[in-house]
């Protein structure tokens, strides 16, 4: 039994962990997050959509890497 929660992408596209290539990632494994915090961006057709967490928690792991291609509904992050 696990109490882990998942954050999924609402869109297909390219996932970015940082706001721009030279910046620090939005969040790292082990970081606490609050509902509404941004954990990354999904680029779809030259538009950038912020991905937010819906509940408070801690980042347990990232299921996709930076600049990885993702599908709609794919898990991005697992929260503890």
């Amino acid at each position: 039994m696990s109490q882990d929660k998942q954050v999924v992408s609402p869109l297909p596209g390219i996932f970015y962990r940082k706001p721009d290539p030279d910046a620090e990632p939005y969040v790292k494994e082990g970081d606490p997050v609050k509902a509404g915090d941004v954990i990354g961006l999904v680029e779809v057709m030259k538009n950038y959509q912020e991905i937010q967490v819906e509940e408070d928690g801690t980042i347990a792991s990232f299921a996709v890497g930076n600049e990885e291609v993702i599908e709609a509904g794919q898990v991005i992050v697992v929260l503890k």
């Binding site: 290539p21 779809v44 057709m45 030259k46 600049e67």
Partner: protein
């Protein structure tokens, strides 16, 4: 004169298909390149040869200069057509093409570089006597310097990235606080998106129109204009609908604008085809240089419709060193042309809508369709949302609008959302029909997007 035998098209979608069409007519072999996402795309099937250039992300495929050059050399192409977007205004790419003995179908690399910097192009145009939007030409090194310049110019202002283009890298600043707040992030974004963090300030011309002049130039100092296009209807600084002639220019003003553009292009030694973009203030009848696009543009069919010329053919001939095949007095503008862009996006939020096109019904007559998709095509999330263009040409503006509006009703796209209803709304709107609109039109007419008839 070296006759071009084989052209590699470093692009995708409708513009790749458009270039293939002209190549075929001219007896030139065409080479397509494609990313993984595009393996079933129309341009791949239509070209004489096609090569995979890597993963779907543009950085790894359509922007991969080394890979594209490798394929061009491997298949023994003698020229590269960059289309629009991607590498089309990349001076490094143009230079590398020439270094590898490949003809770059576009202007010389030095010109691309010069016009790619908005700060430098403003200065060049000023020297040529072309009016520019009042502003601060120098590079702004700090927020303090920006505030200083802004206070001399007066708000509202546009904070612009020198290397930006296509509506990107622009920020409207209304006061000192906003300028201070936005400066660092604008600099940061310009640096990461365009590789150059230089910013400058321009006066914000409210309720202006966006009118551009199509130019053609050979290597022997001859420059002609192919009249203007009015591209004022925009969303997020991206064009939606274009027409020619502009409904607001008198013949005298049209001549003045077109001749000014020719003078500017001559002054900088421009070659190949290009477009000079202007902001036009209807009240004062003043126009100001905005930027120069050193490539073929999305809206080139509007000019092709009124002049009867094939701009891709012209590009190829000019790139292989031929003199301009016609003089200014040979170019005539006939009738009225209108182009609408079909975007895979929600017409209300303008948010992209990738997916599979389940059904596609297009009119067969009375319209030029430059489309990137067919039934069953997957509109990929990796590229531009524009899936096609519809172009009509009629005797006068009213007839063109009626024809266009009628045609839109016969277009059906299912499986993804499109802006079809928005285009219908615009062409049914009395203000648009009377030619009364500015760059704020869509914002002002927000509700129009909701209407379908």
């Amino acid at each position: 004169m070296s006759g071009i035998q084989k052209i590699l098209i470093a692009n995708r979608g409708e513009i790749a298909r458009r270039i293939i069409r002209t190549c075929r007519r001219m007896g030139i072999r065409s080479v397509a390149v494609y990313s993984e996402a595009d393996q079933h795309a129309l341009h791949v099937r239509e070209a004489d040869e096609a090569y995979n250039i890597g993963p779907s992300q543009v950085k790894k495929s359509y922007l991969n200069i080394d890979k594209i050059l490798e394929i061009a050399l491997h298949c023994q192409a003698d020229a590269i057509h960059p289309g629009y977007g991607f590498l089309s205004e990349n001076a490094v790419f143009a230079r590398k093409c020439e270094e590898h003995g490949l003809t770059f179908i576009g202007p010389d690399a030095d010109i691309i570089e010069q016009m790619g910097s908005k700060i430098v192009s403003r200065q060049s145009m000023q020297q040529a006597g072309v009016p520019v939007v009042p502003g601060w030409d120098g590079r702004l090194n700090s927020a303090e310097e920006a505030v200083d310049a802004a206070n001399r110019l007066g708000f509202p202002l546009m904070l612009k990235a020198s290397a930006g283009g296509g509506g990107m890298g622009l920020r409207l600043v209304r006061d000192e606080e906003e300028l201070k707040r936005l400066f660092a992030s604008a600099q940061q974004q310009a640096s990461s998106s365009f590789g150059d963090g230089s910013l400058f300030l321009e006066r914000y011309v409210q309720d202006a129109r966006h009118i551009e002049v199509q130019l053609a130039a050979d290597r022997y100092g001859h420059v002609i204009h192919l009249f203007e296009r009015e591209c004022t209807i925009q969303r997020r600084n991206q064009k939606v609908l274009e027409e020619s002639p502009s409904p607001v220019l008198s013949n005298a003003l049209r001549n003045q604008l077109c001749e000014t553009a020719v003078r500017g292009a001559k002054e900088i030694g421009y070659t190949n085809i290009g477009t000079m973009e202007f902001i036009f203030d209807e009240q004062s009848e003043q126009f100001y240089f905005l930027e120069m696009n050193t490539r073929i543009q999305v809206e080139h069919p509007v000019t092709e419709a009124i002049t009867g010329l094939d701009l891709v053919e012209l590009q190829i001939k000019l790139a292989q060193g031929e003199p301009l095949p016609l003089k200014q007095h040979d170019v005539r503008s006939t009738g009225y042309a209108l182009e609408g862009r079909l975007y895979a996006e929600d017409p209300k939020t303008f948010f992209p809508s990738p997916g599979t096109i389940e059904q596609l019904q297009l009119p067969e007559e009375g319209v030029r369709l430059d489309f990137a998709v067919e039934e069953g095509s997957v509109v990929s999330p990796f590229y531009d949302p524009m899936i096609g263009k519809m172009i009509v040409h009629a005797d006068n503006r009213q007839a063109a609008i009626e024809q266009f509006h009628h045609l839109l009703k016969h277009i059906k796209v299912e499986g993804i959302k499109t802006n079809l209803a928005l285009l219908q709304g615009i062409t049914a709107d009395p203000d648009f029909q009377q030619g009364q609109y500015t760059t704020n039109y869509l914002k002002r007419k927000k509700l129009l997007a909701l209407k379908t008839d």
